[in-house]
């Protein structure tokens, strides 16, 4: 057996100090090491009281007293983690517990003080790091993954599972894990994984993924090789960050930018068109004035008057047209509402009933696939009005106009199609000008060339697009993507 001296030296080596407690007198004696730890203080009160007052951190005073009483009165064992003020004036973590009294010695008890400061601090650091990691992962929607290329297994952490929208007990299939990437990303993904697995090249890419329910979303993915001790690559690990919201915002922003850019260029054109349109009348006026100056007889002068009347009339109608465009544009300030296609169409048909009746036009509408839409009602009516009057205006002379209108949803996007059996138009020749201002392709007296310009504007203002297909002598279809 070890004697006290040997024991003491061992305990000291392990930085373990102890108290001896006389259970009868409740008198406490400190081991030498304990005394050293707390700086060999001098005091007049008892060890116990001094300890409570000067050494033990106040947070533990109450608990410690309770445990101490229980130990001395009922010989009840305890263990507590507490902070002691050491000789350098700093608090350190100790584990305090009583040594099991094997000899059934009812007279003395031993209380051990084990320095656990380092492990306590490590534990805190780990907890703290884990806290930051978890908070960061959740806040940034970043999940970890590991692909074990040797045993052909995939591991996802909970955040990754949340991003993929699968249950927490879901086991990702190794062979089919490509199904979680959008098909168009497969070449990128394959190349990134292969390079990482074969050559250890890390990757950082933005990818479109698909969750368990085939819904697309964007992630930023990083991957790095994992080596074993022989420096062979045994897997790839990395993180997925769900950036769907940012990416969508970015795409929306780009989309808005594109719309603004096209609207800007249209505005620029509009300005030129306005100046051109007004200038053509003013230049005619100038010509008349010159002719009036040149005219030798009154009769010559009077002969020019009807021209002045024509010019003023044309100028007036040009200004009215421009005004109409500006007015329609100012509808922009209106708000979207749920509009029923049927209602919108019946409104348009009522206002064009005389035209429809005169031309004996037939309008067939199928709205059962998509009955309503959140849109600016005035826009929807204006769009329908323009496309319908357009179809009737450019009807085929050999047959009565039939207009087929349908709505539907494809790939989560709403569509409106207006088809006619009219003249049709050669798109190779006129396609890029279809929606330009004052572009007319048929020698029709009531062609003004602003209807489709306005329609395109309205559709694009609300973030959609319009396209056209046509066959000469067969008909034309306008397709609006909302």
């Amino acid at each position: 057996m070890l004697n006290d001296l040997q024991l003491n030296s061992i305990l000291e080596d392990f930085d373990i100090a102890y108290w001896k407690i006389n259970l009868l007198s409740k008198e406490v004696t400190w081991s030498e090491h304990f005394n050293t730890l707390v700086g060999n203080p001098e005091f007049s009160e008892s060890h116990f009281e001094f300890f409570l007052k000067e050494i033990l951190h106040q947070d533990y005073r109450y608990d410690f007293r309770v445990y101490f009483d229980k130990l001395t009165e009922e010989n009840e064992a305890f263990s507590i983690e507490l902070k002691l003020k050491l000789s350098n004036g700093k608090y350190r973590w100790f584990e305090c517990r009583n040594l099991k009294n094997k000899e059934n010695n009812k007279e003395t008890a031993v209380l051990l003080f084990v320095n656990i400061h380092q492990s306590k601090r490590d534990q805190y650091t780990i907890e703290e790091n884990f806290f930051y990691y978890r908070e960061t992962a959740q806040m940034t929607n970043t999940g970890g993954w590991y692909i074990d290329t040797v045993n052909k297994n995939i591991y996802w952490d909970n955040v990754t599972k949340k991003i993929i929208d699968c249950p927490l007990d879901y086991q990702p299939p190794y062979e089919e894990h490509y199904k979680f990437y959008a098909p168009e990303e497969h070449p990128t993904v394959t190349s990134a994984f292969e390079k990482c697995e074969k050559y250890g090249i890390p990757f950082k890419v933005e990818l479109k993924m698909q969750n368990l329910y085939h819904k697309d979303f964007w992630v930023r993915a990083t991957g790095k090789p994992v080596y074993n001790e022989e420096q062979d690559i045994i897997g790839i690990r990395g993180v997925f960050q769900d950036i769907n919201e940012q990416k969508n915002n970015e795409l929306n922003l780009q989309n808005s930018l594109d719309i603004i850019a096209t609207q800007n260029s249209r505005l620029f054109n509009f300005a030129h068109i306005v100046s051109h349109n007004l200038r053509s009348h003013s230049s005619n006026l100038c010509l008349i004035v010159e002719l009036l100056k040149e005219a030798k007889t009154d009769a010559d002068k009077i002969e020019l008057i009807p021209n002045v009347a024509d010019i003023s009339e044309n100028l007036d109608s040009a200004i009215n047209q421009l005004n109409e465009i500006v007015n329609r544009q100012s509808l922009l300030r209106k708000e979207r509402r749920i509009v029923s296609f049927k209602k919108a169409l019946s409104g348009v048909m009522a206002s064009t009933s005389s035209l429809i009746n005169r031309e004996n036009a037939k309008i067939v509408a199928e709205f059962h696939k998509l009955k309503e839409i959140s849109y600016i009602p005035e826009y929807l009516e204006s769009i329908l009005l323009n496309l319908i009057t357009n179809a009737i205006k450019y009807k085929h002379p050999g047959r009565k106009p039939v207009i087929f209108i349908q709505t539907y949803i494809k790939n989560e996007t709403s569509f409106l199609e207006v088809s006619d059996n009219g003249l049709g138009i050669d798109l190779d020749q006129y396609g890029d000008k279809m929606f330009g201002m004052y572009k007319t392709f048929h020698e029709n007296l009531d062609s003004r060339g602003i209807g489709l310009f306005i329609t395109k504007n309205q559709v694009e203002t609300l973030g959609g697009s319009i396209s056209v297909t046509s066959t000469v002598d067969v008909g034309t279809t306008f397709k609006i993507k909302f």
């Binding site: 030129h272 100046s275 051109h276 200038r279 053509s280 003013s282 230049s283 005619n284 100038c286 010509l287 008349i288 010159e290 002719l291 040149e294 020019l304 021209n307 024509d310 010019i311 044309n314 004052y438 572009k439 007319t440 392709f441 048929h442 020698e443 062609s447 060339g449």
Partner: protein, 140 residues
């Protein structure tokens, strides 16, 4: 005043403008005859017909071409006219005439070799006289 132009041609959909130019040409006796088309296609069809039939009908000495017209605008006419122009055994002076003051239109017109000049409406009477005069001399 030089030699009078035999045949002038106006391609323009603005009836009032055409009327007024007609008057100027009449009053100033700038051309013996006047050919008028209200868009590029009508004009092109006419010239193509002359080619096909090797018709005796005379070609204009001078063409005033508007830009903004329905059916076939001035640019489209120019693109087609280039293809047949050299077949004609005659020098035809062509002016693009427009009320557009857009510099891009001016640039574009100058990019065609067969365009003598870009004239902005309104063209003053004196300018008209000069053009016809110069043209008359050139043709002489």
């Amino acid at each position: 005043m030089g030699q009078k132009v035999e045949l002038a041609c106006i391609i323009d959909d603005d009836k009032i403008y055409v009327n007024l130019v007609k008057k100027i040409i009449e009053i100033k006796k700038l051309s013996n005859n006047l050919l008028i088309f209200k868009n590029g296609k009508e004009a092109l069809d006419h010239f193509k017909l002359i080619l096909e039939n090797a018709s005796e009908e005379i070609l204009p000495d001078i063409i005033f071409l508007d830009i903004n017209m329905p059916i076939m605008d001035g640019w489209e006419f120019l693109n087609e006219f280039i293809k047949i122009k050299n077949i004609f055994d005659k020098k035809i002076t062509l002016y693009v005439v427009s009320s557009s003051i857009d510099p891009r239109d001016l640039e574009r017109a100058k990019s065609f070799n067969l365009v003598t000049d870009y004239l902005i409406k309104p063209i003053e009477l004196k300018k008209f006289e000069k053009i016809f005069d110069r043209n008359g001399h050139a043709a002489a």
